[in-house]
Amino acid sequence: MGRSRFAEALRPANLLGYALGIFFLLPVIWLVITGFTPPKGLGKFPPDLLPWPPSLTNFSRAFGENDFLGFLINTVIVGVVTTVLVLLLGIPAAYALARTAMRGKAAILIGLVTISMFPPIGVIPPLYVGLRTIGWLNSYQALVLPYLAFNLPFAIWILRNTFREVPEEIEQAGEIDGAPTWRIIVQLVVPQAVPGIFVAGIFTFVACSTEFLMALSFNTNSDVQTVPVGIALFGGQFEMPYGTIFAASAASLLPLVILVLVFGRWIVSGLSQGSMKG
């Protein structure tokens, strides 16, 4: 039994699959190793593949002298606030597009897909002018507002697909009882659509934590900057402090990687749903 299982694991397709998996992981493994390499070992050529003993110097530089924790906290604040707002606005909109008899649903959906493909650079000059005019540059809301608008389309798309899978009898029962629509959504539809809501939330949070162009353009004060900007601006005057950069990077990627591994199946379904049905 165990033997045939072992033989099965060694089939060519499986071996090739492991190799591909490792290939895609290798750069990240190299990042983590570099983070633990003592600063002296960083300039070596050829580099040590497994510097021993591992050193925590880079981490203490990233979180001590460079106060990287602040960037992480800012990222979590912006990401969580945006995600909550996206769901608050996205769930009713998606319900309307999935279930009501409103006109122009197809046109709205096509418009949303098109907008979600727009390059962010197209709105940088006007948004910068607008944010500066109302005194919002260098603030959390300078990022929350555009992230909200740019992530709503895809979230609405995912949520709408999920809501369409919810059996209609459940809502009809509520309608017969004359419940207001918002109660039908909150009490009857949302509990049936938790996986899809999670997918929309995770996609929004990941997008907010990785966005760079707006974060770089709108917030120049390090008190409100997010992780990507912090990592990008680590550059030294003469030499790139790679050890510090990758220690900070490894710490920032850890929560994202855990999120992805825990919710992997849902993310895969979200990616293929968002695509299969549109």
């Binding site: 002018v129 207001p180 049905k277």
Partner: protein, 332 residues
């Protein structure tokens, strides 16, 4: 929010379906034909309005304003911006500049090269994972890691890998005896393009692979058995069954990849910063440099507007060619 707000709601929804067994007709809703549909329509408009308003105010309105800005010479003062109308001056200087034309060419070239590689590789990876019987979740999980990696971090990482003095790419190529001494990848245009391409392919092939895998898993396995009985070989089966049935998934992946690639910013900004010279400068990087480097908001708005227009045209072409919009409309 709604006129029936005061109506009762059964506190235990799971008891509600029992009503369907009720031999007497339910007292509500009133069976007036159009009223229900009209109420549902109004309800839908109300529910969708806040989200659409935010999206329109933060994306569509600024794009329109950007077009206006591109015909002016914006100047930042203590009381905000002032806009002096300059006509097509910004467009003349942008469209006439060698740097802009090169940025457009490079962006298109980079998009074509990387998307072709990512689509082929992504399909191949999906075919392998689809055939895996053991360890499939490991393979999928490792695909998701590059997808979730912050692009800025990926750019710093590949910059380090391709470092001309101590990068591991040099060590690997020397170990394979492909080169004799470390080369400075990022200081010649062609190898800088290869470095950028590798980083992009590593990060986005998993996206294509996962979408293609989703498509593969929806294909009925019996089709393959039937084709095999009819004597179709693996290549014939791939062309007759896999590719056509995978088409919707591939079209979506292709559309997303091409349009995203047009706005490419993070990767070239960090990895090469458009260098050496302007050789790997994308439209996005150029726009940023004009806006925040030269502080030329008029020309910057012109480049931004042109980028939006190019992406919009590309999107319309894709929708038209692949019947994308029609599919949405049918499902809507």
């Amino acid at each position: 929010m709604e006129s029936l707000g005061s109506a009762r709601l059964d506190p235990a929804p799971n008891r509600v379906p029992a009503r369907n067994l009720d031999p007497w007709p339910a007292p509500s809703p009133p069976p007036r034909g159009g009223g229900r549909a009209r109420r549902s329509r109004r309800q839908g408009n109300l529910l969708v309005a806040p989200a659409l308003a935010v999206v329109a105010i933060v994306t569509l309105l600024p794009i329109a304003f950007s077009v206006f800005m591109s015909f002016t010479d914006p100047a930042a003062g203590p009381d905000g911006f002032t806009f002096t109308w300059v006509g097509t001056e910004n467009y003349q200087s942008v469209l006439g500049s060698e740097v802009f034309r090169h940025a457009v060419q490079f962006t298109v070239l980079f998009t074509v090269i990387t998307v072709i590689i990512e689509m082929s590789l992504g399909i191949a990876v999906a075919l392998v994972i689809d055939r895996m019987t053991v360890g499939r979740s490991f393979a999928i999980a490792s695909m998701l890691v590059p997808w979730a990696v912050i692009t800025v971090i990926s750019a710093q990482l590949w910059n380090y890998i391709f470092n001309g003095v101590y990068g591991i790419a040099n060590a690997l190529l020397m170990w394979l005896h492909l080169i004799d001494e470390p080369t400075s990848f990022l200081s010649t245009p062609n190898s800088a393009l290869i470095a950028l391409g590798m980083a992009d392919v590593w990060k986005t092939t998993p996206f294509v692979a996962i979408i293609a895998l989703g498509g593969l898993q929806m294909i009925d396995r019996e089709l393959y058995q039937a084709a095999a009985i009819d004597g179709a070989g693996p290549v014939a089966r791939f062309r007759a069954i896999t590719l056509p049935l995978l088409r919707p998934a591939l079209v979506t992946a292709l559309t997303f990849r091409v349009l995203q690639s047009f706005g490419l910013f993070d990767l070239p900004f960090i990895l090469t910063h458009g260098g050496p010279g302007h050789t790997t400068e994308t439209v996005g990087v150029l726009a940023y440099d004009v806006l925040f480097g030269d502080l030329n908001f008029g020309a910057g708005a012109a480049i931004s507007s042109l980028t939006t227009v190019m992406v919009l045209i590309a999107a319309l072409v894709f929708f038209k060619v692949f019947g994308f919009a029609k599919e949405v409309a049918d499902r809507g």
